[in-house]
Every structure is written in C-alpha cells, then in structure tokens.
Symmetry: C2
Subunit: 248 residues, 2 copies
DNA sequence: CCGGTCTGCGTACAGTGTTCGCAACGAACG
DNA sequence: CGTTCGTTGCGAACACTGTACGCAGACCGG
C-alpha cells in the first residue's frame, strides 16, 4: 500500500513519481464509489476526507481537485446509490403493481445505505443529480400514463410516505447496529426502558402488555408495517383516479 | 457578560467566585432551551458546545455535568420542541378532523425547527422522550377511539407521510435560507439549472414548460401539496375503517 | 526542447467533541 | 463553630475534523 504516497524521499531523484500503469488514478467516480463503500461499511460519522484519501492511496487534500467540498461529495454519493432504485419504465397497464415495486425498491435501497436519509434530510439540491432525475422521470411517466391529473402531487405523496417510513427504519437500524447486538436482542433489551417510558400512558402501556414478551420477528413486522401503509397510500391515490372528484 | 467566567485573577482571593444571585445557574433545562434557541437561529452545523457554553456564561465543558454527550443533547432538544405539536386529546367524534389538525401541527413544528428532521434521521431513541411519548399516546387514543383495528399501523402510516413531507420541505427551506434569498427569488434563480437537468427527460421538461415562468407562490404551493397528500392518506385510512375487509 | 496546464500533496489554521484533574462551593454533621 | 463530602464549574489538553494555500512534479501541445 501507500505506493504512490511515498513522499519522494530524496527530492528530485530517479524513480521520480511513477504512477503505476494499472492504477486507475484519482477520478471523481472512483472517489464517490469509495465514499459509498466507506459509508456503507462504517456509517456517516466515520467518513472523513483523510480516511477516504488514505483508502485511495492519496492525500486528503488531493480529493479537492475533483470534489468542491464534502457536502458536494455527499450529494454525489446519494445520487450514486439512487441509481439502484428500480422503477418499471414506460406507462404500465398495472400502474399499481409498478408503483409498489418502485416503492419497495426505494425502501430497500435506503435500508441498504442507511446514511442516505440523514444526508437527504440535511442538504441541498440532491434532487438535481442525474440519477435522481431519471428516477423522477420514470415515476412521472408511470403516473401520467396511469391517468393522474396531478402526477407530481401524487408522486410527492407516495415518495413522502416511503421516505418517511424508510428514514425511521434506517435510523432505528443504525441504532441497533451501533449497539452491536441483533435486532431481536436489542428489542428485548430495550423493553424495560420502553415500558417505563410508557408508564402512565394507558394506550401505549396496553399495547406493550398485549404484545407480551413473545419475541416476534422484527424484520418481518417492519415489512408488514411498510406494506400496510403503502397499500393505504395507493388506495388513496387510486380513489383520485377513477372519477372526476365532483365537489371542489 | 462573562461575569462568572472570570478566572479568578489572583488565586484564592476574596470575592472568590460569587454566583450572582439572580442568575439561574446551569441546569439541564436551561441548556436544552438555549440549544433550541441556537438551533433555530443558526442551524445545526452552527451549534457547538463551546458556543452554547458561551451563551450561558459558562465554559464548554461545564455542560457535560448536565448532559452526557452532544447527541444526547440533540435528543433532548428534539423532545423539547416535540411538546409544541398539538394533538386533540381523547377520542374525537370527528377523528379525521383531529388527525388533520395533528398532522398540520406536526408539519408546522418541523418547519419552525428545520433541524428536527436531520436529527431524527440520524440518531437514537428519541422516541422514548416524555413529550414524544405523550404525543404517541394521544394519537393512540385518537385512533383506537375512532375504531381502527391496527391503530399503530395506521398511526405509523400517517406519521411516515407527514415526516417525509416535512423533512423534504425543511431541507429545501434550509437550502433556501442558506442562499440568503427569498424563496421565490431562489426558485427563479434555480430555474435554468433545473431545466438543464431535466433536459432529455420528457415528462419533467414538459412539466417545466407547462409551468412557464409564472412566479406562483411557493409557500402556498407547498401547503396545497401537503394537503393533497394528507387527504390521500386519510382517505386510504378511512377505507380501512368502515367495513371489515372481506378478502384476506 | 520548452511552455503551460493539470494533478497530487505537505503544511497550516481554525475549529470540533470530549477527558481529566483541580478548585471552589453549599450542605450535612460533629 | 470547624470539618468533611458530594456536587458543580472550568482550564488545559488530546485527537480529529474540513479546508486554503502554494509548491513540485507530470503531462501535453507547439
């Protein structure tokens, strides 16, 4: 390692500074790719320009030749992973199935890269990235093709739901991961505190005692919960589709 | 200012270190309150323990007597502002109106404190804070009172939508604020870039040319968009309410 | 061969969150 | 009254952070 980063021990010597020919050099794409890898592996707060540079056999400040600032790098990273979201393209005879698939794929992507939601909640004009653009475009094609009169309002509704749910899940999963324990383990470990916090609140306490101590599969529960809400939203959207809404 | 922070010029003298009697000393509540004020005024990245300490006429490290870590302080801040969300309590004859009010109030709170969403997207067990707990409790009362069979699924759906929409709005408003310009100004200034990004994507480009250059009121548009989605979600929920869903 | 542009990087700066040990205090107790 | 003792504030220090700047070497067109 550190092949290209040796600081030229005697200044101005032979073997000056040969970039090994196979090495792909430093490029914006390589930087973003490696950043995503680091974010996935170690989380948001673990990514620093210095560490990222080191992983690319480069100095920290070298990155700034290809990326204006760390925030910009984050936006690039988000757009990079946004390419993973799969949306059936073109108008689909079964718009509802297509929307469901898009939503599920979006959620899966966020859960694969939990740092996405914190970045999107914080910064800027991520939405103009090429991949997010073509994502929006495909959704627009789908919803206009389905016959919606206000496609972007419908799309915003769906996306807001999916983003909200996925963000919550991602935050939860991050906390679980930080604890080092499994999800079920973490849940049972958290129960006493949760019960105590719910003390005095009748409905919450009732929900806890009703759930009992049966372990249940948390991942499956989350899937079900997401599916429920998704159906709710799609039902509401479908209702906007059939008939011209007469009043107002 | 800096009354209590003068470092006792000659060690061990008279006038030792008198805490001025009116001064409310340093307490967890005072810290959290001041943190919220700073977050509202200058945003997330402007809040540092040193600056916060200075604003309380205290050293940075003094805060750690009342707060374990900055993350914990953030959770406390979120729970603090969560108290502002108003939910009609008790079962309501018109659950839909009550839910609407709760949703609107939640959105308003997030827009008043745009840093909320970034914090919630990042960290921990905010949901156990007392204010968020009683928020959940009131929602639970509302939805069980309305007759929902899976109240928490319904609540999660609604909250996910509201959170997703508000988060997006908050991020947008933060970017606008950072630009120093008004929202309409920022929009028109951003148009060219947006158009260019939409080039090649038929539906998006169409939406842009259709919208033309008419300024429109962005805040009103956001209100309308939120209302649309909220109605969609509530429609979907209402459908779960009336009849036992026969199949499945 | 020679100029100019581009790319990498060492250094440096102004900050960050947090630990540690010391000093000063208010209250409890003899 | 004097003496402890737990609590609270804090200065200094540590390990890092993002980034500006200017130099040096690499590449490329003339």
């Amino acid at each position: 390692m550190a092949a290209r980063s040796t600081p030229n021990p005697i200044p101005s010597v032979w073997t000056r500074q040969r970039r090994e020919p196979g090495q792909p050099a430093l490029s914006r794409e390589a930087i973003v790719r490696e950043a995503v890898a680091m974010l996935d592996a170690e989380g948001v707060e673990a990514l620093s320009m210095r560490k990222l540079g080191a992983r690319l056999n480069a100095g920290a400040t070298s990155l700034y030749r290809h990326v204006a600032t760390k925030d910009e790098l984050m936006e690039l990273a988000v757009d990079e992973v946004a390419a993973e979201v799969r949306v059936p393209d073109g108008p689909d005879p079964d718009w509802r199935a297509a929307a469901t698939e898009a939503a599920q794929s979006f959620r899966a992507t966020v859960l694969r890269h939990p740092w996405m939601s914190s970045v999107m909640g914080q910064a800027g004009l991520v939405y103009l990235g090429p991949n997010l653009m073509s994502f929006s475009e495909r959704l627009a094609a789908l919803f206009t093709g389905a016959g919606f009169r206000e496609p972007d309002q419908a799309i915003s509704t769906l996306l807001a739901y999916v983003l909200g749910m996925s963000t919550t899940e991602a935050a939860w999963l991050t906390t679980v991961a930080r604890s080092g324990r499994s999800e079920t383990e973490f849940v049972t470990l958290l129960m006493p505190a949760a019960r105590q916090a719910a003390a005095g609140h009748d409905h919450l306490a009732a929900a806890y005692t009703e759930a009992g101590t049966a372990p249940r599969d948390p991942a499956r529960d989350r899937d079900a919960k997401f599916g429920y809400g998704l159906d709710v939203v799609l039902d509401g959207l479908a209702a906007r589709l059939g008939h011209r809404s007469p009043e107002h």
